[in-house]
């Protein structure tokens, strides 16, 4: 009974919103340049964040799965901190580090990359709040690979690189993939951190904001009728992408 309540609590609002607008309204909304550039920006930034997260997070996840060191527990806890802090506060924290007058901001500034109100800013804000999902999932995936498989492979003459790419990665990829899906899903729904760091960003000649902010903006300025269709579009696109990716991950599990 309680289980049913929570299921209804999750599904009813999603389904109610998803079916609240007529297809024509949705189509018209999608054709607005402000809307489609916003959605495109959100998806692209989410993908870039996930890509960077993969490159930087997977080696760390492997390290955490295979090596014990003093303070590992605390370190693992620190990685999960972005999940528990309010995301607007995370945005402020990022601004302190990546703002133009601060160390990293200056460092990247010399390379021609700035973060405040740019695509790069959207990406790091998304990455900060979502990469823990990828790291945790990839770490668990690596942990599930019997370390003796790697040891046997070494004694058979394989270098550490070959062992990683031929044994460990193929056996852990499913966890890494589903972690990536979780990360991407979390990234594209980010609001707070992006709002602080990169509100409107130059993107294909427009200055869109990410979709979750667009929904909030329209609601605040024009009310529910105006925000509704955008919310529906965002929900539908996220859901479809999520379901497709999850099913790919699950299909891999069966074989």
């Amino acid at each position: 009974m309680l289980a049913l309540l929570i299921v209804l609590f999750i599904f009813v609002p999603v389904i109610k919103t998803a079916t609240s607008s007529s297809p024509t309204t949705l189509w018209d909304t999608l054709r607005e340049s402000e809307v489609y550039t916003s959605i495109l920006l959100t998806m692209c930034a989410g993908l870039i964040a996930t890509g960077v997260g993969l490159v930087l997070g997977v080696p760390l996840a492997y390290l955490l799965a295979r090596h014990d060191f003093r303070g590992k527990r605390i370190f693992e806890g620190l990685i999960d901190v972005p999940i528990v802090i309010p995301h607007s506060a995370a945005g402020i924290a990022l601004l302190f580090v990546f703002g133009r007058q601060f160390f990293f901001g200056k460092l990247f500034g010399h390379m021609g990359i700035t973060f405040v109100d740019t695509l790069a800013g959207v990406v790091i804000a998304m990455m900060f709040v979502s990469v823990p999902f990828l790291i945790d999932s990839a770490r668990d995936g690596f942990k599930a690979v019997d370390v003796r498989l790697e040891k046997v492979a070494r004694t058979l003459g394989a270098s550490p690189w070959r062992v990683f790419f031929r044994i460990t990665l193929p056996l852990a990829w499913r966890s890494i993939f589903s972690g990536s899906v979780m990360m991407w899903a979390r990234a594209v729904s980010e609001f707070g951190a992006v709002l602080i760091l990169a509100y409107h960003v130059p993107f294909f000649g427009e200055h869109p904001t990410v979709a979750p902010i667009l929904v909030a903006d329209r609601f605040a300025c024009f009310g529910l009728d105006y925000a509704g269709p955008v919310a529906v579009l965002v929900i539908l696109i996220s859901l479809v992408a999520f379901v497709v990716l999850r099913s790919v991950a699950l299909r891999g599990e069966k074989t």
Binding site: V152, R154, T155, A158, L171
Partner: protein
């Protein structure tokens, strides 16, 4: 040949130390010890999978201490479940050859030849997750052997198998050893397995080597109480060696004195294997020096044999066949005589 000198490995709280061993070329060497004695760690250290705190390892006269595992030519076969699950049996066996950049045609030939030798040709296309325990172990064996390692190390290769498969594979291992003449180091906690397959045995306990010798040495001439008990010498006593004459010594083990062949003097241990004690209903007419009357206090059925505990006191554990057990009508409370030769008593 493998020579290990003063090897020391720290495994965060567990120390493997003072390991000195030499394994002859083509020898079937056993590392025997209880669970947690450090046997697997020692194997992995030899293979280069654990950093050494101290000591050196050389194979065929060349030092390999600082060599990476993939350069040592030392193969490993684990207990079970360690085939690469995302590859077919054939790909599993070919993995090592592919890693060493062997030409493709040669890989195919060598994989096939090894599969024939081990008798798994019909398994080559199979998915390893569908194999039985014995089949998996044969594939693991083929996978290690196909790279022609200088040393093959087996970590409890038979422990996860049912008795029949275990016996078959044991023969298979002996056969492979005979045909390929590869040096083998076989880890086990099973004393009988060690006796059955090994040329020589090293008993290892709490990270140190307790004794090295032939199976006969470990069986008949244990050098410590631990080895004696681990080798299933169920009768181990502490005692005092008294006067010795003509190589014979009398050892007071409390309540009774036993005669043994030894030159020992002072506080000693005495061990006596249960199968070396005869049980009879009346005193036995024989040349055996030791004969005592006692009462049966316990009977343990072990299938083919029966363990009978006779309190003289002290208590002696004797092993009788099921047939003698029935003929002598042995049961708790019955008075019997136990008899054993002085040469059956080992003093250390």
């Amino acid at each position: 040949m493998i020579a290990i000198r003063g090897l020391k490995v720290d495994l965060g709280g567990f120390l493997l130390q003072d390991i000195n061993l030499s394994v002859e070329p083509g020898e079937y060497f056993i590392l025997l010890g209880p669970t947690g004695a450090g046997k697997t760690v020692l194997l992995e250290a030899i293979a280069g999978l654990h950093p050494l705190l101290d000591g050196s390892i050389s194979v065929d006269g060349a030092e390999v201490t600082r060599l990476k595992p993939e350069k040592r030519g030392i193969g490993i076969v684990y207990q079970d479940q360690v085939l690469f699950p995302h590859m077919s049996v054939e790909q599993n066996i070919a993995f090592g050859l592919k890693s060493t950049k062997c030409p493709r045609e040669e890989i195919a030939t060598r994989v096939r030849r090894m599969a024939e030798l081990i008798g798994i040709t019909d398994l080559l296309a199979r998915d390893p997750t569908t194999l039985s325990g014995g089949e998996k172990q044969k594939v693991a064996l083929a996978r290690a052997l196909v790279t022609e390692p200088r040393v093959l190390m087996l970590d409890e290769p038979l422990s996860a198998l049912d008795p029949e498969t275990k016996e078959n594979l044991q023969h298979e291992l002996a056969e492979v050893h005979r045909r390929l003449k590869v040096t083998m180091i076989h880890v086990t906690h099973d004393f009988e397995e060690a006796i059955a397959v090994g040329d020589r045995v090293a008993v290892i306990n709490e990270g140190r080597i307790a004794q090295v010798g032939t199976p006969e040495d470990v069986l008949r001439r244990p050098n410590s109480e631990f080895v004696a008990r681990f080798a299933l010498s169920r009768n181990v006593f502490t005692g005092q060696a008294m006067e010795a004459s003509n190589g014979h010594v009398t050892v007071d083990i409390g309540h009774v004195s036993v005669e043994a062949i030894s030159q020992a003097h002072g506080p000693v241990h005495v061990s006596l294997r249960p199968e070396d004690i005869f049980i009879s209903a009346s005193p036995l007419q024989s040349t055996a020096r030791n004969s005592f009357q006692g009462t049966i206090t316990d009977v343990g059925d072990r299938g083919a044999v029966v363990h009978v505990t006779v309190s003289v006191p002290p208590e002696f554990i004797c092993l009788v066949t099921r047939q003698s057990f029935a003929e002598l009508e042995l049961r708790k409370g019955v008075e019997v005589w136990i008899t054993f030769k002085a040469s059956a008593v080992h003093v250390f």
